[in-house]
């Protein structure tokens, strides 16, 4: 278990954050730009000097040790691969530094590259890899030193949307063999929802909220958290691209349950998440493309910054973020019945991990 108290005092910035993670847990550190997320990771990794606090791993202090003697791994937004080494040598670098023989290191590196699906790219130089492949090499490189705590600093942020989706979907698989704790820094709530067991939301260097993704999403404590993690999140049973949402009576909605169409191809229990900003509202049943739609009742209308959040009741409770103009166009009022629609490409489905 890692127990850290990170204290950083700079002229116009103060970070004061306590983080505890247990092996096997994925904690997402979420917050706006400048909140101190990356600083927190850099202090953990030994790259930035804290003003105080401590970092304890199973009771042993590691905060006085230099980076190379901390049992941490780190993957940043950019893969930061060694450009003069092949993928294999990049991944073998860590084990070599930590005392493995050349043959052992190569064997481990080959295994990790296969694990992230790059078994055919062992000899490729970083310059010849795609952004997504390079990021997977970076992940394999970090995992190859078997860190106790893996630090992921916006690992998907630099990827273009087309690459991002498959990499995110597979990041969970890649982390599946990893027994250590994982701290994921992100400003993207979908990344956090998809990957984390627990969220820690920080603003201005301080913790503002902590909890499971669904808790935080359901009960945001600040406007920012609401906007940040105010995702619509549902549990369901997936069969291919269709997810039937749990907890609905089989004939509760137009004689059947609600089925959402998603981009991911999954089977078994899953979560489906989509941001309120992706939900569109319509006065009548929309014609044409959107396949995911349902009728709901306006339960609440409130302002979040420059957006207006509409709470809907119905087969599922959902939030939609609209502009003031859209709200006026629809003439929304409490108790009104509207149609909500969401495109499959705006949803994100991921396996519901069974917690031990």
């Amino acid at each position: 278990m890692m127990d850290a108290h990170l204290l950083v005092e700079r002229p116009r910035f103060r970070l004061d954050l306590k983080i505890r993670v247990v092996p096997g847990e994925v904690v997402a550190l979420l917050g706006p730009a400048g909140a101190g997320k990356t600083t927190a990771l850099r202090v953990l990794a030994g790259l930035a000097r804290p003003s105080g606090g401590h970092i304890l791993l199973d009771g042993a202090a590691v905060h006085a040790r230099p980076s190379e003697q901390r049992p941490f791994g780190m993957v940043c937004q950019d893969p930061l691969l060694f450009p003069h080494m092949s993928a294999l040598r990049n991944v073998a670098f860590g084990p070599r530094c930590r005392g493995a023989t050349r043959a052992e290191a190569r064997r481990a590196a080959t295994a990790w590259l296969r694990h992230v699906g790059l078994g055919d790219h062992l000899r490729d130089m970083p310059g010849d890899l795609s952004a997504g492949q390079a990021q997977r090499v970076a992940l394999a490189r970090s995992l190859a030193v078997r860190p106790r705590v893996l630090l992921l600093d916006e690992p998907l942020a630099a990827l273009d949307p087309d690459t991002r989706l498959p990499v995110r979907a597979r990041l969970r698989d890649h982390l599946s063999g990893f027994t250590g704790a994982c701290i994921l820094v992100t400003h993207d709530p979908v990344d956090a929802m998809a990957l984390a067991d627990r969220l820690i939301v920080i603003e201005d260097g301080h913790l503002v909220q902590e909890g499971t993704p669904s808790e935080v999403a359901r009960h945001p404590r600040t406007d920012h958290v609401a906007r940040l993690v105010g995702l619509n999140l549902y549990r369901g049973e997936a069969r291919g691209h269709d997810v039937s949402i749990d907890g609905l009576p089989p004939d509760g909605f137009n004689g059947r349950g609600l089925t959402l169409n998603v981009t991911e191809d999954l089977n078994g229990p899953v979560f489906v998440a989509f941001p309120p900003s992706a939900v569109t509202l319509h006065p009548a049943r929309p014609e044409g493309s959107p396949r995911n739609m349902w009728q709901g009742t306006v339960e609440g209308i409130e302002r979040h910054g420059d957006r207006i959040r509409v709470h809907l009741d119905g087969p599922i409770t959902a939030s939609a973020d609209l502009t003031a103009a859209a709200v006026a166009d629809l003439g929304l009022s409490l108790g009104q019945k509207v149609w909500a629609a969401i495109r499959a490409t705006e949803t994100h489905a991921y396996p519901a991990r069974s917690r031990e």
Binding site: A45, G46, L47, P66, S67, E68, Q69, R70, F72, G73, M74, C76, D78, L80, L81, F82, P83, H84, F93, G94, C97, R98, A138, R141, S142, V145
Partner: protein
Amino acid sequence: MRVFTATRRRSRDTGHSALHDGAGGVPVILMVPAAIGLAFLVLPLAGLLVRAPWGTLAARLTAPRTLEALRLSLVTSTAATAACLLAGVPLAWMLARVAFRGRRVVRALVTVPLVLPPVVGGVALLLALGPGGLAGPWLSTLGVTLPSTSAAVVIAEAFVAMPFLVICVEGSLRTTDTRIEEAAAILGASRWTVFRRVTLPLVAPGVAAGAVLCWARALGEFGATVTFAGNFPGRTQTMPLAVYLALESDPEAAVALSLVLLLVCVAVLACLRGRWVNVA
């Protein structure tokens, strides 16, 4: 340093110049001075080629004294470059990576030999390492007398040429992404391993460019060498010294020797061209 990063931008530069050419002629007010500048740089070299004693060139260049000077020049400038690499790369690393007090002062000090008249450098070296110099007593107890030895030539050349290397390598270090080094540290690499296996390979082009510049500067060194090491054939008389001396007694020999130096410089430029200098 700009020279050395130019190739990376070459494709884009070409695109731009094509655009400007299409936009209509070059203003005369720029073209005339440009032509004068070019002529000023090229004419002396042409003069050297025209006045070269081509008939007796082979005989002159294979004369023992010439060969001796050439050998001494090549050996001392290579030794000076090696010394500069050993001390200059770590110095550049310190300047680029370690935030110590007085770093700006140190950086200024490093560039002093670059602007200092070489003769003054030679005088300074005499006062520091000469018989009556600061380190003189210490050196004489060790039984070392530097002036008028080939070692003194190496020292004089290294003194004048090292800033070229340090500036080149420091520039290279500053433009590399330090986060790659941090990544290596987190993977368990000690600072020395990071330097050896990550930093050095990353700045290798800069080190090579710096070494070539440093070597060329050492090869052409005159003032500090003649002041500190003296002018003794076989021991301290390098090519530039031989050229200067020959000019007094046998101008044609001076031209021949100059041609050799010119050839060496052109060869160095040709080596650099492909990677670091945007000549095309």
